[in-house]
C-alpha cells in the first residue's frame, strides 16, 4: 500500500490566532508588520484585510491606501513555531506522524490511519471541520506525495487525490506549486514553460544542467519518483502517576501513604531528567464518583519528596473520603528544568557544602585538573560497583567493606600470567604483562567467587583474590573461569596503595 499524505495550509495562521485571542478583532482589517530594510512591511494580513486588497510583503504605507484606519497588531517571532507545534501535537489524535513547516504548513503522514474514520473522505472532513472550529482558515489536501498535496492545497483547494493520479491533477498547475523560488519560476516562464506539465516534458538532464538539482528534486518528489521524508515531532509523556486501590481508602494515614508512594515514582522520574515541578495536582477518585483535587505550587522547581509532601500535608485534612477513595492520581502540569544550585535548600544534610563546592569549582577551572566524586552502586561486579556522582549534594550510602574492591581500578583489567596451584588456591606469584615484573606473593585472601549478573550480560564467573607481594604492594587479581578448563586467564583489576 502506498503512502498517503495530508498537507494543511493555514492561510491566515497568525491573524486567525489573534482573532481567537481577542474575539472583537473578528471582521476588522488588521495586519502584522515587520521592519525590513528600513521600511515597515506587512507580514500577515487578516481575512478582512485580504478582501480589501492588502497582501503580504506590501509596504505598510501602501496598505494604508487600501484601508485608511488599518490596525497594526504586535506579535513575536516565536509565535508561528509555537502555534504550529501545538497544532501538530493536537493532530496526533489523527495520526502519530505529524510534522510542521514554517511559515504555515502542517504535514501529516496518514498511511493506514484513514480506515479508522471509515474512509479518506470522512477522515479529511473530520480533520478539516475540527480545525475550522478553532477558527482557522485552512485548505487541506490528501495525496500520494507531499509535493502533490502541497500543490493541491495551495493552488486547487480542498481535494483528495486518488492514488497514482498525480499527473491528472498536477499537469495544469503553475510552476509556483512546485515549491521553487520566484526567480527560477520567472526564468522558466521566459522560456515558455508555465505549467508543471510543460516542465515534465523537458528531459531531466537539461533541467539539472541549467537550473540545478533542487528543481528536479521537487518535480520528482511531487510525482513520487523521489522520496520525501518528514521528521515527526515527539511529545513528552505527561507527568502522571496513578495508584489504584484494591480496597477503598478511608483513613488519613492511608491517603498519606498513597501520596508518598506516588511522589516517590514521580520524583524519581523528575530527578532522572533533572527537572522540577512548579505545580502539582493530587486527585482522589471516590467510590461515589466524586473527585477531590488538591493543588500546590512552588516558587521554584522542586523534585524533593519531603518538601512537596509537606506542602500537601496541611491540605490533606480537607479531604473527605466518605465511602472511600479507590484511585489516586498525581500530576505535574507544570515542569521546568531544575537549576542545581537550588537543591541544598531542601536537604538539611548538605549545609556546609558551599565552601567545598566552591573549592571544587576553582580546581576544575585549572588546566589538567578534573575533580570527580564516586558513590557506591549496589552491584557485586566491581566494574559496576561504583558510579560517578552527579552533583555534590548526593547523599552517600555506605561503601560495603567486605568487598574486594581496589582503590585504583584498571579498566580494562590488565592481563597477567600466574603460577597458582589448581584448582582454586591463591597464586604463588604473578607476572604483570605490562612491565614483566615478577611479584612474589607472601599473603593472600580469597577466593571470592562472583557470578555474572545474568540480567545484564552473560560471562564466566570470576574468583577474586587480594594479594600482597614482597614489596608490600597490595593487588586485586582475579581468575576468569573454572580451574579445569584450558582457557583460564588471570587479570589484575586494581591496586590498593
Amino acid at each position: 500500500m502506498g503512502k498517503r499524505y495530508v498537507v494543511i495550509w493555514f492561510r491566515f495562521l497568525l491573524t486567525d490566532y489573534m482573532i481567537r485571542r481577542q474575539p472583537d478583532l473578528k471582521g476588522t482589517c488588521f495586519v502584522l508588520t515587520e521592519k525590513q530594510h528600513g521600511r515597515i512591511v506587512v507580514t500577515a494580513v487578516s481575512e478582512a484585510a485580504y478582501q480589501k486588497g492588502i497582501r503580504e510583503n506590501m509596504p505598510l504605507a501602501d496598505a494604508r491606501i487600501y484601508v485608511n484606519d488599518l490596525l497594526v497588531v504586535n506579535s513575536d517571532d516565536q509565535l508561528p513555531e509555537r502555534l504550529l507545534r501545538d497544532l501538530a501535537e493536537w493532530c496526533i489524535r489523527f495520526t502519530p506522524t505529524v510534522s510542521f513547516e514554517l511559515p504555515d504548513i502542517l504535514l501529516l503522514d496518514v498511511s493506514g490511519c484513514t480506515h479508522l474514520w471509515k474512509g479518506e473522505g470522512q477522515y479529511l472532513r473530520a480533520l478539516f471541520t475540527r480545525i475550522r472550529e478553532f477558527g482557522y482558515t485552512i485548505f487541506a489536501a490528501l495525496a500520494d506525495t507531499i509535493g502533490a498535496a502541497w500543490a493541491v492545497s495551495h493552488f486547487v483547494g480542498n481535494r483528495i487525490i486518488p492514488p497514482l493520479q498525480q499527473w491528472e491533477t498536477l499537469h495544469s498547475l503553475p510552476l509556483h506549486a512546485l515549491r521553487i523560488d520566484i526567480e527560477t519560476v520567472e526564468r522558466f516562464n521566459k522560456l515558455g514553460i508555465r505549467t508543471i506539465g510543460d516542465l515534465k516534458t523537458i528531459s531531466p538532464s537539461s533541467i539539472k544542467r541549467r537550473f540545478g538539482d533542487l528543481v528536479l528534486s521537487r518535480l520528482r518528489q511531487a510525482f513520487g519518483e523521489e522520496e520525501e521524508i518528514i521528521t515527526p515531532i515527539t511529545t513528552i509523556s505527561p507527568y502522571t502517576e496513578r495508584l489504584p486501590c484494591l480496597e477503598p481508602i478511608l483513613t488519613r494515614k492511608g491517603i498519606e501513604i498513597a501520596l508518598s508512594k506516588l511522589l516517590e515514582q514521580l520524583c524519581s522520574r523528575l530527578v532522572k531528567e533533572n527537572n522540577g515541578l512548579r505545580k502539582c495536582l493530587f486527585k482522589c477518585y471516590r467510590v461515589d464518583s466524586k473527585v477531590i483535587e488538591l493543588e500546590i505550587s512552588t516558587q521554584r522547581p522542586s523534585n524533593s519528596i519531603s518538601h512537596i509532601f509537606m506542602l500537601f500535608e496541611n491540605k490533606i485534612t480537607t479531604i473527605e473520603p466518605a465511602l472511600g477513595i479507590e484511585l489516586f492520581v498525581l500530576q505535574a502540569p507544570q515542569v521546568e528544568k531544575l537549576s542545581p544550585a537550588l537543591q541544598p535548600l531542601w536537604e538539611p544534610a548538605a549545609i556546609d557544602n558551599k565552601r567545598l563546592s566552591e573549592l571544587i569549582d576553582r580546581l576544575n577551572c585549572r588546566q589538567g585538573i578534573e575533580v570527580q566524586r564516586y558513590l557506591p552502586a549496589e552491584h557485586y561486579w566491581p566494574e559496576r560497583a561504583y558510579r560517578l556522582a552527579v552533583s555534590l549534594d548526593e547523599t552517600l550510602t555506605t561503601w560495603p567493606l567486605n568487598q574486594y574492591f581496589p582503590l585504583i581500578i584498571f579498566t580494562p583489567p590488565v592481563k597477567i600470567t600466574v603460577t597458582a596451584p589448581i584448582p582454586d588456591y591463591p597464586p604463588m606469584n604473578f607476572r604483570d604483562t605490562r612491565d614483566t615484573r615478577l611479584h612474589t606473593i607472601v599473603k593472600s585472601i580469597g577466593p571470592r567467587r562472583i557470578e555474572s549478573e545474568w540480567w545484564i550480560e552473560e560471562r564466566k564467573h570470576r574468583d577474586y583474590y587480594l594479594v600482597e607481594d614482597t614489596d608490600a604492594g597490595r593487588y586485586c587479581i582475579f581468575r576468569v573461569g573454572h580451574y579445569g578448563s584450558d582457557t583460564t586467564e588471570w587479570f589484575l583489576h586494581g591496586v590498593l596503595p
Binding site: 549496589e378 552491584h379 557485586y380 560495603p400 567486605n402 574486594y404 584448582p423 585472601i445 580469597g446 577466593p447 571470592r448 567467587r449 562472583i450 557470578e451 545474568w454 540480567w455 564467573h461 577474586y464 587480594l466
Partner: protein
C-alpha cells in the same frame, strides 16, 4: 560415601529454595550420595515428595527441619527416631498455632524441650571485624549448656565470599572451646548451578523489587548447589572431622517415613 549433605532448602521454603525435593534427590543420586537430609524452614511439608523420590532412587532420606527462632540463632534439627519425630511435629504445630497462617513463631525454650534429636547450629555468613558475631557466640554458648552432650554440632560452610578460611578457623576455635564437634554443610538452595537465575528471581519476588534494583539482596555466586563428594572433600581438607560428622549424624538418624 564420605559425605552426606545435611542442609538442603527446597522450594517448600517459599521463595527461598529453588528446586523441588524430587529434583534434589535425583541430582543427589546422580552424584552418588548414599543419604541426604532435607531441611526446610519451620516446616516438614516437603518430606512426602522427598520420601517418594528417595524410595525410587534408593537414597536414604533423613528427615530434618531448620528452625528459625525469634530469639536465637537458627538450628537444624534431625529426629533420631519416632519419638523425636513426634516431638518435632508437635513443636512445629505449637509454633504455627501461635501466629497467623503461613508463619511460625518459635523460641529457644520450645527447642530445649526436644529429645532424641541431633542439632546443628547454622553458621554466620561472614565475620564481623575478623571475629564471629557477638550474637552468634552468646547463643552458641547458651545452646551448649542446654543441649545434652553429643547432640549439638557447629556447622561450617564455604560461602566463597572471600573470608572462608578465616570463618572456618573461627568456628573451629569456638567448637574446641566448648567441646562440641564440627560438621560440614553446603547450605544447598538448588540442585545444580544453572538454577541460580531462577533463585535470583525468587529473591526478587520475596523482596518485592525488580532484578535491576535487587543489588546486594541477591547471592553473589552460584555455590549453593549440591556438590560432588570429591569437591566437598577438597573444600574441607583441613577439617576431615567435619566431614566425618556428617556420616555420624546420618547413621544416628534411623527414623524413616
Amino acid at each position: 560415601m564420605k559425605y552426606v549433605e545435611l542442609q538442603v532448602t527446597t522450594n517448600y521454603t517459599f521463595l527461598v529454595g529453588g528446586s523441588h525435593p524430587g529434583e534434589i534427590i535425583t541430582e543427589a543420586a546422580k552424584l552418588g550420595y548414599s543419604a541426604i537430609a532435607i531441611t526446610d524452614r519451620n516446616t516438614l511439608a516437603g518430606m512426602v515428595r522427598a520420601y517418594a523420590a528417595a524410595k525410587q532412587t534408593g537414597i536414604k532420606l533423613i528427615i530434618g527441619c531448620r528452625l528459625d527462632l525469634t530469639d536465637g540463632v537458627s538450628l537444624l534439627v534431625y529426629p533420631k527416631n519416632l519419638e523425636g519425630y513426634g516431638d518435632l511435629c508437635a513443636l512445629l504445630t505449637t509454633g504455627n498455632r501461635r501466629t497467623e497462617k503461613g508463619k511460625c513463631l518459635l523460641r529457644k525454650e520450645d527447642v530445649y524441650g526436644l529429645k532424641a534429636c541431633k542439632f546443628i547450629v547454622v553458621p554466620p555468613s561472614t565475620l564481623e571485624e575478623r571475629a564471629l558475631p557477638e550474637h552468634y557466640r552468646k547463643c552458641v554458648l547458651e545452646y551448649a549448656e542446654r543441649f545434652s552432650a553429643g547432640s549439638m554440632y557447629l556447622a561450617m560452610s564455604r560461602y566463597y565470599l572471600g573470608d572462608d578460611t578465616q570463618l572456618l578457623y573461627r568456628i573451629n576455635e569456638l567448637a574446641d572451646e566448648i567441646g562440641c564437634p564440627i560438621v560440614a554443610v553446603n547450605d544447598v538452595h538448588y540442585h545444580s548451578a544453572e538454577r541460580r537465575q531462577l533463585q535470583d528471581v525468587l529473591t526478587c519476588i520475596r523482596e518485592k523489587c525488580t532484578i535491576q534494583n535487587a543489588g546486594f539482596r541477591l547471592l553473589p555466586n552460584a555455590e549453593r548447589h549440591l556438590k560432588a563428594e570429591k569437591e566437598m572433600e577438597r573444600l574441607f581438607r583441613q577439617y576431615p572431622k567435619a566431614l566425618q560428622s556428617t556420616i555420624d549424624i546420618a547413621a544416628a538418624c534411623q527414623f524413616s517415613l
